[in-house]
């Protein structure tokens, strides 16, 4: 175990310290907050690079450092840090992209009065995300997970005075919470069966052979193996965080937050946490592959959901007209691709795509931020246009990002990572549906990105804001350039001919294949990309939109479908009608129970008490008092009656005495006495 592993906690601790500094700093100390944040991220980046070097030195090892948090008597709650290539790559990616976005925010948030709050919240988020990444314990991961959710809530609702932003923050938190409930259940179940939440613990961790072997033998309800059930529960959390169908509804609304937030949290890092989680506990997910009696394989579910999400996200993105919403649905779709890759068994491909996606999606969001900043917060693409000539650097970097996302071949990283995914999907035994879904997604992705590029940067400016747009300052464009370089360069680390990244991630050397290996599939995907780009250009580039009110060509072609997709397939309305109504009904039921049943019972008891008191009083007054009164009256009257015998006449007394004596004597005489 390398000594560095024991200090791995410093990587999340640095941004946490910066957050504390920023929070405690007096109002208006912008430089302090931002300076601390950027310095912390730079430090985290440096340490992550060192850690990466160490990890790459022993790529197959999972180096860990565990400690006991508290002792429960029966067992102990243990936490720990983990260092292996997956973690290290993620650390580097998060800190690098984070650093670039922080620098971008110096320019973007300059006019905002809550500058300080922005930076320490972002630092908090970075700390939590890094905690998720370096953790060796599922419990510590969960703690970071929840903190990430909290930071996301606070940042989406950054401009909380706007009702839309507040509602969006609430929606995000609640939706991810639903997923987190499943995660927590899975966590508890796991702890109960294996007795450990540590991933690797020298043989005792639950990802290691002993525990997995135990789990694999247990069967849960419905013929599911225990590992399948636990995996699916953990996947609930991942699906919530990563915006998979059906828990994707919060992601588009999360665009209410500032654009750097969207870039960092909802493109590059937080939403990738779900993918990272599944990749992290992949041995658990794949433990049921070898079981013959399992009715359902966890990875099948993952693949299915990923495929659905990929296709759905792309379709909806093609009908949106808000710049950030298009990118948001694009994120949903790409995350679907990553889940698809995980589902078909290649977590390496998923992580590769995650890393490349982080770069080009962050790039796209930051470029969009640059556009929004220049166009004074006009975000509707129908009202933009002609920005290509006015914002050259932004346009160039945006184009790089767009091409990477679309999968323009060979040069751009997105192509290589998507190829890896499609290659893995094609080799999946059970079904080819994920492959077809992925291919369909490729067309759509290329199409909607071309549409976006054309609408925003080509044609005439369709609003005064667009015509007055000016290029953003260097503090904002420099990160764009760096990210563009990453968007291009990163791909070369994972080509089939040189699967350097994949090997390092997998911990085992992956055999090099010819560059164009998998040719048929590669050719098909290249053709599809061309089709998408071409159709997009044909509809939106050749004859650019004349004015904001002009109808969208797609809208004219298939109005009902366009409207349906534009309304995000009406899922929000569906949820409101079903779950929302159920909730309202439950609340009403609870209210009725509370008021009439429990309240009634309590009221009844109160009435009973009252009645008992009344009864007591009546008994007392009518019964007892009367009885006593009557008896007393009787006694009094009897006494009075007797006292009438006291006439006061002495003669009367004497007479009575004489009479009594006579009677007595007669009795004695006649009764036989002598």
């Amino acid at each position: 175990m390398e000594p560095l592993v024991a200090y791995l906690w410093i990587i999340p601790a640095l941004p946490l310290a910066a957050a504390a500094v920023g929070a405690a700093a007096p109002r208006g100390s912008r430089r302090l907050a931002s300076g601390a944040a950027i310095a912390a991220m730079a430090g985290a980046l440096a340490l992550s690079s060192v850690a990466l070097k160490y990890a790459l030195a022993a790529p197959s090892a999972h180096q860990f450092c565990n400690f006991t948090w508290f002792d429960l008597g029966n067992g102990a709650v243990r936490l720990g840090w983990l260092l292996d290539p997956l973690n290290a790559f993620m650390c580097v990616m998060v800190s690098l992209v984070g650093l670039l976005i922080f620098i971008f925010s110096l320019g973007y948030m300059e006019d905002d009065e809550n500058f300080k709050r922005f930076f320490w919240l972002m630092s908090l988020f970075a700390a939590a995300m890094l905690c998720v990444v370096v953790s060796n314990s599922l419990l510590l991961l969960f703690i970071g997970w929840e903190l990430v959710g909290l930071a996301s809530y606070l940042l989406i609702g950054f401009w909380f005075h706007r009702p839309a932003a507040a509602a969006a923050a609430k929606k995000a938190f609640i939706t991810t919470r639903i997923g987190d409930l499943g995660f927590l259940l899975g966590l508890v179940w796991l702890y109960d069966t294996t007795g450990s939440l540590l991933l690797y613990d020298g043989g005792n961790g639950f990802l290691e052979a002993h525990a997995l072997g135990d789990l694999a033998t247990q069967v849960a309800a419905g013929g599911l193996a225990a590992t399948t059930a636990i995996s699916l529960l953990i996947f609930c959390g991942a699906a919530g965080k990563s915006g998979q169908f059906p828990l994707h509804v919060w992601l588009p609304d999360a665009m209410e937050g500032p654009t750097p937030v969207s870039a960092l949290i909802h493109a590059a890092t937080m939403v990738a946490a779900g993918v990272f989680l599944v990749a992290r506990v992949f041995p658990l997910f794949s433990a049921d592959q070898g079981l013959p009696a399992a009715t359902l394989h966890a990875l099948t579910v993952v693949a299915a959901i990923g495929a659905i999400t990929a296709l759905m996200g792309a379709a909806i993105a093609a009908a949106q007209s808000d710049l950030k919403r298009i990118l948001a649905f694009s994120t949903v779709s790409q995350l679907g691709y990553m889940m698809l890759a995980l589902g078909v068994g290649s977590w390496v491909a998923a992580i590769f795509h995650l890393l490349t996606h982080a770069f080009f999606k962050a790039l796209l969001f930051l470029a969009a931020g640059s556009v929004i900043h220049a166009a004074h917060h006009v975000q509707d693409i129908r009202e933009l246009g002609g920005l290509g000539a006015r914002m050259r650097t932004t346009f160039a970097t945006f184009a790089v990002g767009m091409m990477a996302l679309s999968g323009v071949p060979f040069v751009f990283s997105g192509f290589w990572s998507k190829e890896a995914i499609l290659h893995a999907a094609s080799e999946w035994g059970p079904s080819s549906l994920p492959l077809y879904a992925g291919l369909a997604g490729v067309v759509l992705t290329a199409f909607y990105m071309t549409r976006l590029l054309c609408e925003v940067f080509w044609g005439p400016p369709r609003s005064p804001a667009a015509s007055h747009a000016r290029e953003s300052p260097a503090v904002m464009t420099a990160p764009l350039v760096v990210l563009a370089a990453g968007a291009v360069g990163l791909g070369f680390l994972g080509t089939p001919a040189w699967p350097w990244l994949q090997s390092r991630l997998a911990g085992a050397e992956i055999p090099a294949r010819p560059l164009l290996d998998g040719g048929a599939l590669m050719a098909v995907s290249i053709i599809l990309v061309a089709v998408g780009l071409g159709s997009g250009w044909a509809l939106y580039g050749r004859r650019p939109r004349a004015s904001a009110a002009a109808p969208d060509p797609l809208q004219s072609a298939a109005p009902r479908l366009f409207a349906f997709l534009g309304a995000r397939m009406k899922l929000d309305e569906l949820y409101a009608a079903t779950v929302g109504r159920l909730n309202t009904f439950a609340a009403a039921l609870a209210d009725i129970l509370d008021r009439w049943v429990w309240g009634g019972a309590v009221g009844l008891l109160a009435r009973l008490g009252e009645f008992a008191g009344l009864l007591n009083r009546e008994v007392d007054e009518v019964g007892l008092n009367t009885g006593f009164d009557t008896v007393s009256e009787e006694i009094r009257r009897t006494g009075q009656a007797y006292s009438r015998a006291q006439t006061g006449e002495a003669h009367g007394y004497l007479r009575t005495l004489a009479l009594a004596f006579v009677v007595l004597a007669l009795l004695v005489l006649l009764g036989g006495g002598r």
Partner: protein, 171 residues
Amino acid sequence: MNTVLILIALATIGAAAAAMSRPSLLNCVLLLTLSWTGIAAFYLWAGAEFAAFAQVLIYVGAISMAVMFAVLLTRRGRRDFPPRKGSRSRAAYAVLAGAAVAGVLLAAVARSPLAASPAPGPASTVRELGGQLMGPHAAALLVVGVLLTVALIGAVVLAAGAGPEKPEATR
């Protein structure tokens, strides 16, 4: 023997009956004194000289005097009381009661097998009486002495009233 007894009895009873029925109070007192004397004669006939002596001394001598004083002190004017309403019925009832009691007692006496003991009565000398009073009955004698003292003091207090300046509503 019996003749003397019967004579004494008739005289005493007659005097007593007269004493109880005369309207004049003084007459009643004097006749009653006569009847007391008759009782003393009976005691003599029975052989209880000391008892006769005591009877004469106390009743005839002291009590009659006291009664006389009381009569004289409680007179209102010199007229006697006329008979009031209801005194007739009261008198009738009284006679009836007396007759009933007498009847019952006589009946009891008549039915009781009282043996006549012609033996001469026991001789009681004064000396013996003294010995009895100072001996076995000494305590009783003392108690009676105390009783007499207390009674006489009480009588004096009762009769004297509350003192010279009493706001008696006797007018």
